[in-house]
């Protein structure tokens, strides 16, 4: 189970705590979101968390500091996930070098398809921070193999056409089975993690039974959004995470 949280949401002082709590509650991988002003592959939930994080003054260097602090307490794999412009602006080489120094284990750049990953690949290799690529339901067979070759760590399988956010079961499950069969035939090198649309344990189990794991993001942020800053918001969030993994 991989969990996504936007760095700096709901507050920069909470991020490290949330990540460590996620690990205790059953997370195997953390995707730490690097917020961007124009997240065009994201639905309203992650748009909201990005806006809040930016309003909280999140910067690339503050995100790296969070990674260092997580590393002081935990060995959980951390994948940095975000749009290319802030990374490009930081300097692609500088970014990968710093990511390696801080102990990040991978990078996901959802608006960089394999066509455009050339110069990031070079630095990813040099500094040993692999790029994790995405496949979508309309990705052709040959292209899926190419993406598997380029990707390192795992392949992020986008379950449905659309932006991030939770969905009704009917929207997700209808055509996903044939897609997963194709993914399992074509993706040989990497483990496969599936995400987009998962809202609870049942939908996670249904969608991920034939792959290596699942990814949840929007459902966590929705949970925070409805309870923060009430007393006990974090406990109910961690409770939700445990349920995601094990059911009620």
């Amino acid at each position: 189970m991989s969990l996504f949280i936007t760095a700096g949401y709901p507050h920069p002082d909470e991020t490290v705590d949330l990540v460590l709590g996620f690990e205790k509650s059953g997370a195997d991988i953390i995707e730490l979101g690097m917020p961007f002003s124009d997240p065009l592959a994201d639905g309203p939930t992650i748009q909201h968390s990005s806006e809040v994080a930016l309003a909280n003054g999140i910067t690339m260097d503050k995100i790296f500091d969070m990674v260092i602090r997580i590393r002081e307490a935990s060995e959980i794999p951390i994948v940095l996930m975000g749009y290319i412009n802030p990374v490009f602006n930081y300097g692609i080489e500088r970014f990968f070098k710093r990511a390696a120094e801080c102990g990040a284990d991978g990078v996901i750049l959802p608006d960089v398809p394999v066509e455009e990953s050339g110069y990031a690949d070079e630095y990813a290799k040099r500094y040993g921070v692999p790029i994790i690529c995405l496949v979508a339901p309309n990705t052709g067979d040959e292209r899926m193999q190419l993406i598997d070759q380029k990707s390192n760590g795992f392949v992020y399988c986008v379950s449905i056409a659309g932006v991030t956010g939770t969905r009704d079961d009917s929207e997700v499950s209808s055509s996903v089975d044939t897609f997963i069969q194709r993914v399992n035939r074509k993706i040989k090198k990497n483990p496969v993690m599936i995400g987009f649309g998962i809202r609870n344990h049942e939908s996670a189990m249904a969608i991920s039974k034939h792959v290596d794991g699942f990814i949840v993001g929007s459902a966590l942020i929705d949970n925070i959004r409805s309870h923060y800053p009430e007393k006990g918001w974090k406990d109910s969030l961690f409770e939700f995470v445990k349920e995601l993994k094990h059911g009620k």
């Binding site: 930081y90 309309n138 659309g162």
Partner: protein, 394 residues
């Protein structure tokens, strides 16, 4: 100079590319294949030219601006009258082309983003004409300042969706249109309104606007037996500018000037002057100059003109800027509005506020010209849509 940008991968020098989520890659490949196999097809060209003539009203006039020329007392000024296109601006050249392509690709659902509303109106118009479903995303703030165009789109049968995220202007409308496209990619054709977005859009939109420059060249030769010395156009995303510039790029004698919107002034913090204040970055699928913070977050643009109120610019313009082939210069809100009033009185043409930015540069340019030179200015749109804003400056 020989000029054949973009590359097959969609690069103009280092600018352009396809920075989009994986889900859109098959759609862009499908579009590229369809476009490549269609653009030179005589049947398609015949259709496109037919509708430009019979529906849009092309060729548009190249009007000698007699009193404006006398006002400056220097070079002769000609206006390429894109304001006379059906719907009141150049935007329809592109929507006719793209909708014909959409029909050939079997797509029945059309989406678009719009800032000033001109591209939205042009898209709604062709969708009405060809009987296609049309959804237009528009920032809530733009809907307020361009209410007339919202009503026009609705009258034409389009579903105009208000975008309340971010700055509620063109950049956010574009984000929302891309989100729609990501979700409905199997049956939807996205008609982008400017020479921005992922490859092949900047090339395709340019190609559908090249007619502006091609006609200009022919018409000026007919009237003056020679080409222009200067060509001026306003630049937001840059579609009208690239349309008139492109056929002149290889002819280095022709000085090309793009006028960007400085808003309250380039150092006021309320500006849309992308070249003056921006630096390269990636937004909406391509690398180009961008207004951005030190952290690479996109800054809010400001211009009195909704059509120029965009923090980016087309990648081909970034390339032309860096190789020095086009000079890009800023004009403020106030300069544009003053010029709008002058042109209205002297020429009997009320230009769009976007277009007025190009006119305003004449104040700086004309004193440097001589009486035997020729200036062509792309009169990209008419100002009727802007009367609400213009009234505040009277």
């Amino acid at each position: 100079m020989k000029y054949d940008a973009p590359t097959k991968q969609g690069y103009f020098g280092k600018f352009g590319g396809k920075f989009v989520p994986e889900i859109l890659i098959p759609a862009l490949e499908e579009l590229e294949t369809a476009y490549d196999s269609t653009i030179d097809d005589p049947g398609f060209q015949q259709d496109y030219r037919y509708h430009l003539k019979e529906f849009v009203g092309r060729p548009t006039a190249l009007t000698f601006a007699e009193r404006l020329t006398a006002h400056y007392g220097k070079a002769k000024i000609y206006l390429k009258r894109e304001d006379l296109c059906h719907t009141g601006a150049h935007k329809i050249n592109n929507t006719v082309g793209q909708v014909l392509l959409a029909i050939r690709m079997g797509k029945k659902r059309i989406i678009a983003e719009t800032g000033a509303g001109q591209h939205g109106v042009a898209t709604a118009t062709v969708c009405a004409k060809f009987g296609l479903e049309c959804i237009v995303y528009m920032g809530a703030e733009d809907m307020e300042r361009q209410k007339l165009n919202v009503d026009r789109m609705r009258l034409l049968g389009a579903d105009v969706r208000s975008v309340t995220s971010g700055s509620q202007t063109l950049k956010d409308a574009t984000n929302e249109a891309i989100r729609d496209w990501v979700t409905n990619v199997h049956n939807t054709f996205y008609i982008i309104g400017s020479v921005v977005g992922p490859h092949p859009y900047p090339r395709m939109t340019r190609d559908f606007h090249r007619i502006i420059g091609i006609e200009t060249r022919e018409q000026l030769f007919a009237k003056e037996q020679r080409g222009p010395d200067y060509v001026l156009a306003c630049v937001g995303g840059g579609s009208n500018a690239i349309g008139i510039f492109h056929p002149f790029i290889e002819d280095e004698k022709v000085k090309l000037i793009g006028i960007e919107a400085a808003g309250f002034g380039v150092d006021s913090g309320k500006t849309a002057a992308t070249f003056t204040k921006g630096r390269p970055g990636i937004l909406h699928g391509s690398m180009s100059y961008l207004l951005q913070t030190g952290e690479g977050q996109i800054e809010l643009a400001h211009s009195v003109s909704a059509g120029l109120d965009y923090p980016g610019v087309g990648p081909e313009h970034s390339y032309l800027h860096d190789i020095g082939r086009v000079q890009y210069v800023p004009v403020t809100d106030d300069e544009a509005m003053e010029s709008l009033k002058l042109v209205s009185r002297l020429e009997g043409i009320i230009p769009a506020i976007e277009t007025a930015h190009a006119f305003a540069w004449l104040d700086k340019l004309m004193p440097q010209t001589s009486a035997d030179e020729l200036v062509v200015l792309n009169c990209s749109g008419r100002g009727d849509k802007d009367m609400g804003t213009i009234s505040k400056y009277l």
